[in-house]
């Protein structure tokens, strides 16, 4: 399929009704709900006594910051890695992918 490599081009076949998640404004609703949920779990840290094994675990929202930071770090490093290791699909000469 070489016809579409643009990242977010929707290609719903002719005659097919778009579904709920095909509308960008609904995706936006999901994203907003996600942000609210994340905020709530972070706020919850003030409402109970944490039993962490390490001192740093008692920082409010520590796991959220660590999770967000880890994810961003992972992706940024992977993008750099791609520059070094990415090859054409036929690199090994046996149609590897």
């Amino acid at each position: 399929m070489s016809d579409s490599h643009e990242p977010h081009g929707h290609k719903i076949p002719e005659g097919e009704e778009p579904r709920w998640v095909d509308h960008p404004e609904n995706v936006e609703k999901i994203v907003r709900a996600l942000f609210v949920l994340t905020g709530l779990t972070m706020a919850a840290d003030f409402a109970y006594h944490k039993h962490g094994h390490f001192g740093f675990e008692n920082i409010p929202g520590f796991h959220a910051f660590w999770g967000f930071g880890s994810f961003v770090f992972l992706v940024l490093v992977a993008i750099q890695l791609r520059k070094v290791v990415m090859r054409d699909e036929e690199y090994y000469g046996d149609g590897d992918g």
Binding site: K11, I12, H63, G67, S70, F73, V75, V77, M86, D96
Partner: protein
Amino acid sequence: MVEALPPGLILVLGALIIPFLPKGADGRDVLGKTVMLVLPVLGFVQILLLPDGYSLTGTAFGLELELVRVDRLAKVWGYIFHIAALLSAIYALHVDDRLQHVTAVMYAGCAIGAVFAGDLITLFVYWEGTAITSVFLIWARRTERAYRVGMRYLVIQVASGVLLLAGTVLWVQGPGEGSVLFTTGAFSFETLGDAGPAALVILVAFGVKAAFPLLHNWMQDAYPESTPTGTVWLSAFTTKLAIYALARGYAGTDILIPIGATMTAFPIFYAVIVNDLRKVLAYSLNNQLGFMIVGVGIGTDMALNGTAAHAFSHILYKGLLFMSMGAVMHRVGTTKASELGGLWKSMPKTTFFCIIGAMSISAFPLFSGFISKSLILTAAAEEHMTITFLVLLFASAGVLDHSGIKVPFFAFFAHDSGKRCEEAPTNMLVAMAGAAALCVGLGMFPGPLYDLLPYQVDFNPYTTTHVITQLQLLFAAICAFVVLNKVGIYPHEIPSLNVDFDWTYRKGLPMLVGWIRRVGGGAWHGFTGASVATIRRGVDWVGTHAGPAGRLGEPWPTGATAFWAAVLLAAYLLLQFL
């Protein structure tokens, strides 16, 4: 009665009946497929009935063998291997290929036999058995490429067995003192200096199958090349057998902690950028093995329980994820992310099951990964291993990226590829439903699994702290995905491949050999040419001087001969007086 046959042999021998069964008049293989379904059930019942402490011994080549050893550690693996075999068999029911069915069931049987093997020779036989039977699941694609991938896979797998045998010989002649019994903790060592050569060689043998860093590429090479159903079988047994062997022989070996931690962190960078989603899952599998190996390295009761529990739940959710991608492969013909998207409209049930697998591997509360991985993380925290703990937490966010988000998102959502297909076949859906039910069941009611674990467990994963902190980690990581996607930083799916350490033997080594042939060949020709010329000159010289025309070739006069004889005799006489 149940002891009559060692565990695993029900499957190995039972599968051999399948080729001799008649097929129906319409060509349907009802009998063969029934046998394939019944064998894992029979084997499971056998494990249920075998008492702890049961042992079957024998002698061969003057060595004491323990063909069967039943204890709690072996039984956990015994149960889950049978469950995996049954689910995989259901998943493969639509396939009419007896070669795959027979070798797959034998493969599962060998893995089960290996888990219950009480000595290194028996372990070796089953160990090689898993290699030889499983390669057919790759070759079953019946393409030139699958043939080549299968050969690479087979060489590496068999080499692992050869190393195991070499290590066994070293062990028997050294610290084993003539015994080949594979006792618990037999090879554990404190530092590399303490480890004898036998323990190190066997560690590498296990490490190949467990996909240690730099020994791992056979998995990412082979698993995406198997058939849609074959990969599901492959994902369950080989690597988890290696984890069992490590847990049995190397518990508490410190070096396994950095090795395992590297495995949790290193493959996930690749998982972010790999295009083939089955290959993404292979990298993700590598990362999950890392958690289990850290557990073995920590070696406390809680950590080893964590390894066993995580192997158990991992086999289910990883199998489920491979099943969902196998269904996509079966219907669409590819699992390349760059060619997929929007499939939820065609395959809503498969999408649903895939998401359950994704939430389980991401360790959402109420799913199986949550109740097993937390044992390992808690064990690391209790031993105050700060760096290990933080690396595992980083890797947990990474799991969420590749298996939790990337696989379901790019296959079933993302941008609509416009592809429309049928829902997965019923048997595939049944197998996925079974695996999904177990993932959720274990997550909600971990008690029965905890009761199976090798050591007494006093652990409750559902504390407020644990649930809240885990949700924070996961939700915040999803937020990171959304943000990176929105600003356009998240890597797009590009048709490509990524070179990994396998470059060394697929490209580097052939290049080196070619270079040696070119450069070395010239030198060799120069060397042989010069040598021949030297020898020829020597022969010519002898010919000139000793030939018919040469000075040495002349006939000597009698007088000269008598003179030289007299000189020799005189010299001899003189020597007598000295």
